[in-house]
Symmetry: C2
Subunit: 143 residues, 2 copies
DNA sequence: AACATTTTTGCAACATAGTTTCAAATACAA
DNA sequence: TTGTATTTGAAACTATGTTGCAAAAATGTT
């Protein structure tokens, strides 16, 4: 666990590191990501911060994404989710090599940072820039 | 290539095989999938059939999916796309083990049926039912 | 600490997509 | 060909994505 002060500090450091101004909205949203430790959709976040403007949240997520703070966690559902980048991600240059797992029971999506996926043979003539690996099923807690 | 008669026959056979009534809408929509040979979003289909009700199309796609005729082709974009099942798919039991490729230039998504992906180690305690492998980049035609 | 500049926020307004209900139309089987 | 079950299309509503703009807030500078 992490104290409130530690959380506050971590949030500030992360925002600064990614060239983002320290605003109230951003601090709150980033805190949710740090506490929850799972991929979050827009509505997930709305439920976890007190009273936030829908459009502002929408733009906050985009700016986090643009600045390499979060990435899209494709999980095979209709909902777009975002997850904290582990490290090394930069503007316009996200580097992710992990799978995402979506639990159909609790509907949570988590990054499986320990599960690297093997390089598969790319079809001839195709230039592959980004690869996603998604697993759906039941997570350990919901068995 | 396939003649109109052959297409008509194929459509009928496929619908019957999947316990779907032979309606005008279904025949048209399925024809588009057979002709296009790529993953299609709702709007892709609307552009390729003459005048179709939005809600009916929405329900048609769901019924096709439920009856194992098409599957969701997750391609990492915001748009939900569907692609024809290759074979063997049944209600509630889709079996897909191929990757999807989304071209950022022509925005087409295709199934890479020849590209099987290796089984990766699943995290302990997780029950994996479905796996998706998605690649984004530039396809051979758009190089 | 106050100001100027730039960014961010919140609102209005609009576009698109997902979903349910229900009556009319259609498909199919007896 | 008729009866039954399914499908369709319209209305209505909800949710989500997006832009423009003025007010508010954040940051750098005096």
């Amino acid at each position: 666990m992490r104290t409130d002060i530690e959380l506050e500090t971590e949030v500030m450091t992360l925002l600064k590191k990614h060239d983002l101004r320290l605003t109230q909205v951003r601090k709150e949203v980033l805190s949710v990501f740090l506490i929850k430790e799972q991929a979050l959709s827009q509505s997930d976040i709305e439920e976890n911060v007190g009273q936030i403007d829908r459009i502002t949240l929408y733009r906050t997520l985009r700016s986090f994404e643009d600045n390499g703070l979060i990435h899209r966690a494709i999980d095979g559902t209709d909902k777009l989710r975002f997850a904290l980048c582990v490290d090394l991600c930069e503007k316009e240059n996200h580097k992710h090599n992990h799978a995402h797992f979506h639990c159909e029971k609790c509907t949570k999506t988590i990054c499986l940072n320990g599960v690297e996926f093997p390089k598969i043979i790319h079809p001839a003539g195709f230039k592959v820039k980004e690869t996603y690996y998604v697993m759906q099923g039941v997570c350990s807690k919901c068995q």
